[in-house]
Symmetry: C2
Subunit: 458 residues, 2 copies
């Protein structure tokens, strides 16, 4: 052993034996201690490094247990034949992304108003659950908590016209996770149709699976049935209540056509993401497509992340009976991924009426804000709006202006805006912004629109 340059420091968090172990192991891996060479004796190491013989023993034991060295009775420790590691490449640059300032005004269609979240009752329910139900630390049901699914089945029937039983419901931590679960239900590659423009993440989730994805155009009633027939797709992902991002509400006729399409072919399913259905301003909430379906061809899904708060990671879907059996046969377990305490608290939020009270209140607040914002925007010369009857976003355009001409000047004022184009695959709709108001406060609407108009020179 040419040099014993090991640096041992008793002040470090790891014990001395482990420091010694690591440094010898590194020398072996990097070829500085070649295979077959003998390590210095316990006595030499101990004296040279100024550490106890016991510390050396522990390090040697660990090296032996890991297969770095072998011991030979009386003659000491020998390095095993281990291929040295090639040279360490140069370290890459810093991984730290630049910190971003919060936007001056938050027009993101994904944002919700967390001031509306029933924080006190939620905290109380979580605390009670934590105190009383320690058994929730065990593994849960693969479809999610039965109590939550029971409460959901009843809520969904009353408020969305969804006909399902607790046994058919599956919980997960978000709509994306539910879509990945749906993808897993089909073990043969399917062609999945998505709306274009539409929810990009749905295309991505199916794109990462064994399935193929095609983008179908919309007409003024939503997903084009002609394009669907021509596509040869077996599965369709759609947002009929308040299409993302255009805000189109699919009328009953188109819904019936879609149900017919599904009933006509073996193995066809509609994936109904009941996005933004809970907030509807100009007429009463439309019941879900699922409730009109007599052939069990609709997979219904929605999430509490949008109606309550993004931090509540609970979403749910109702599977037709044949797919529920497949879920079970494939031993899928998406319900296990969600905190059981939060699932129980959510069940009580539903059972005790807090959730529907919250929906009513939030709906009033959002409606007022939506009307105020739309009123301000309608005053912009050349403005047009669409899809403001429901949900937390709408389309806004200015005649003769490109998306870039609206986005860039706002970005310069630290107001990030989303163009319709970024939600498109092949579609080339007229230029528009997808404006959300969930993240705005009522009092900032006037200055926010004022700043935008100044930025646009309108």
């Amino acid at each position: 052993m040419r040099d014993l340059t090991y640096q041992l420091d008793p002040a470090l968090d790891h014990p001395m034996y482990e420091q010694l172990y690591r440094q010898i192991a590194r020398d072996i891996l990097q070829g500085r201690l070649p295979g077959g060479s003998r390590l210095p004796s316990r006595r030499v190491l101990s004296a040279h490094l100024g550490i106890s013989g016991q510390t050396v023993d522990s390090a040697l034991d660990l090296l032996k247990a890991e297969g770095f060295v072998r011991s030979s009775a009386r003659s000491g420790y020998f390095v095993e034949d281990i291929l040295p590691l090639p040279d360490t490449p140069k370290p890459s640059g810093s991984a730290r992304p630049a910190a971003q300032a919060p936007p001056r005004h938050d027009f993101s269609p994904q944002s919700t108003d967390i001031q509306l979240f029933p924080y006190r009752v939620w905290t109380q329910l979580i605390r009670e659950t934590l105190l009383r139900e320690s058994e929730l630390m065990n593994r849960g049901h693969p479809q999610g908590e039965p109590g939550l699914r029971q409460a959901l089945a009843s809520f969904l029937y009353q408020y969305r016209g969804v006909r399902t039983q607790a046994e058919q419901l599956v919980i997960s931590s978000g709509v994306d996770q539910l879509l990945a679960t749906v993808a897993a239900l089909f073990d043969q590659p399917q062609l999945v149709a998505c709306e274009d423009p539409g929810y990009v993440e749905a295309r991505r989730v199916f794109g990462r699976s064994i399935h193929r994805v095609c983008a179908l155009p919309l007409d003024e009633q939503g997903l084009s049935i002609t394009a669907l027939e021509a596509s040869g797709a077996q599965l369709v992902y759609l947002t009929p209540a308040h299409q993302f991002p255009t805000g189109i509400s699919m009328p009953a006729g188109r819904r019936a056509e879609l149900l017919h399409w599904a009933a006509r072919g073996e193995g066809r399913y509609l994936i109904e993401d009941d996005y933004d259905s809970e907030f509807r301003y100009t007429s009463r909430p439309l019941p879900a497509l699922q409730g009109m379906d007599a052939h069990s061809r609709v997979i219904y899904m929605s999430t509490f992340s949008r109606t309550l708060a993004p931090g509540v990671r609970i979403a749910y879907m109702a599977l037709p009976e044949d797919l529920r059996r497949r879920y079970q046969a494939l031993q899928l377990r998406s319900g296990e991924a969600v905190s059981r305490y939060e699932q129980r608290a959510m069940a009580r939020l539903l059972e005790e009426g807090h959730y529907t009270r919250h929906l009513r209140k939030a709906s009033r607040v959002y409606q007022r804000r939506c009307e105020a914002l739309c009123g301000l925007l309608q005053d912009v010369p050349g403005a047009w709006l669409m899809g403001q009857e429901a949900g937390l976003h709408f389309l806004f355009g200015v005649k003769g202006r490109s998306e870039e001409a609206l986005i860039q000047p706002a970005a310069a004022m630290n107001i990030p805006l989303q163009g319709l184009r970024q939600h498109c695959q092949a579609a080339r709709p007229r230029p528009a912004l997808v404006l959300g108001f969930g993240g705005l406060t009522d009092s900032e609407l006037v200055p926010a629109v004022g700043t935008l108009r100044a930025a646009w020179g309108l």
Copy 2:
């Protein structure tokens, strides 16, 4: 209108107008009210059904908003041309699976002892977080809470020799979800090698992605490097600390060979699932493969679900810098799926030393239990054991007995046992059981083994 058989009940949860709306809509969808036909007038409906004119108006408004009917000035409401739905198929059988009795003794290798869970401190941390940090209801970081990742980077370096920064860590709700995220990082199909016998769920997750999976045999040191070289695989999923299900600890030489294999080819990665590394009984915990890697070719992952309790849905992985950049570019968001309150509580559990105290305590309890159980099983004539140096399970076989001959008699006594075979793809190892002791209590060991021996006649 031939007959007005609508059943309206003011005692029901949904308002009367909605009941009327639904029944008319159903008649339209099912073709009983054909397209073009005129609905009875408001006055006739109101009188015939004994409801107010306002209720009828609300139902008609909703039918019109949904596109079921159109109104024509002065001449009333006409049914839109909507394709009627085909006949409803017969309802399928009950979805309710038969309830299962809990096992008499729980030998599942997946079970852990939740009595060891630091319930009081966890509950306290969650409550404090809930009370103090309402901003956690907002959307979190796509890689998970920065504070938790910071605490993890420090813990992983000290206890597992993992060299990573908070910026490279990604949180998710379980190892399966992390594996799905890894699959999503590669947009070109890869060949992924898995251990055989091995963790079936890993094969399934990659099998559902665009990637192909191959099963590689083990030798006494773990994953066969010869088979790996021959396979042409680019990614390898492995459990080097305590191989699932055989319990093999991979020695340093094999680890170095694997790192060499990875460093030799462009785009090769080792996915190190540091399964069961936290509990090691006969020698000190072996540092992770990741810490030996000088070329950033190891994706390191582990979970708190196994060390703390299955109900804690927090797992983590350290990505090499190039893959972290890809995670960001692909806008993956697995960290958002996990409750931020639990992530914050977990960060404090680490920072305040509760977690390492828990590991030390649990390790002592599991070691005692493992030794006691192995001692009892070694007395079984013809018995052999393997892999009991670490983790919460080991292999147990009886010379001359098939797996079925051990499983069936135990199942008859309501003691479900897992055979090694169920974790195999092509491998045909000698018959053995994968026995876990996390779900057993110390006091039930003697009667449990006694019952098994009686069942086996040994």
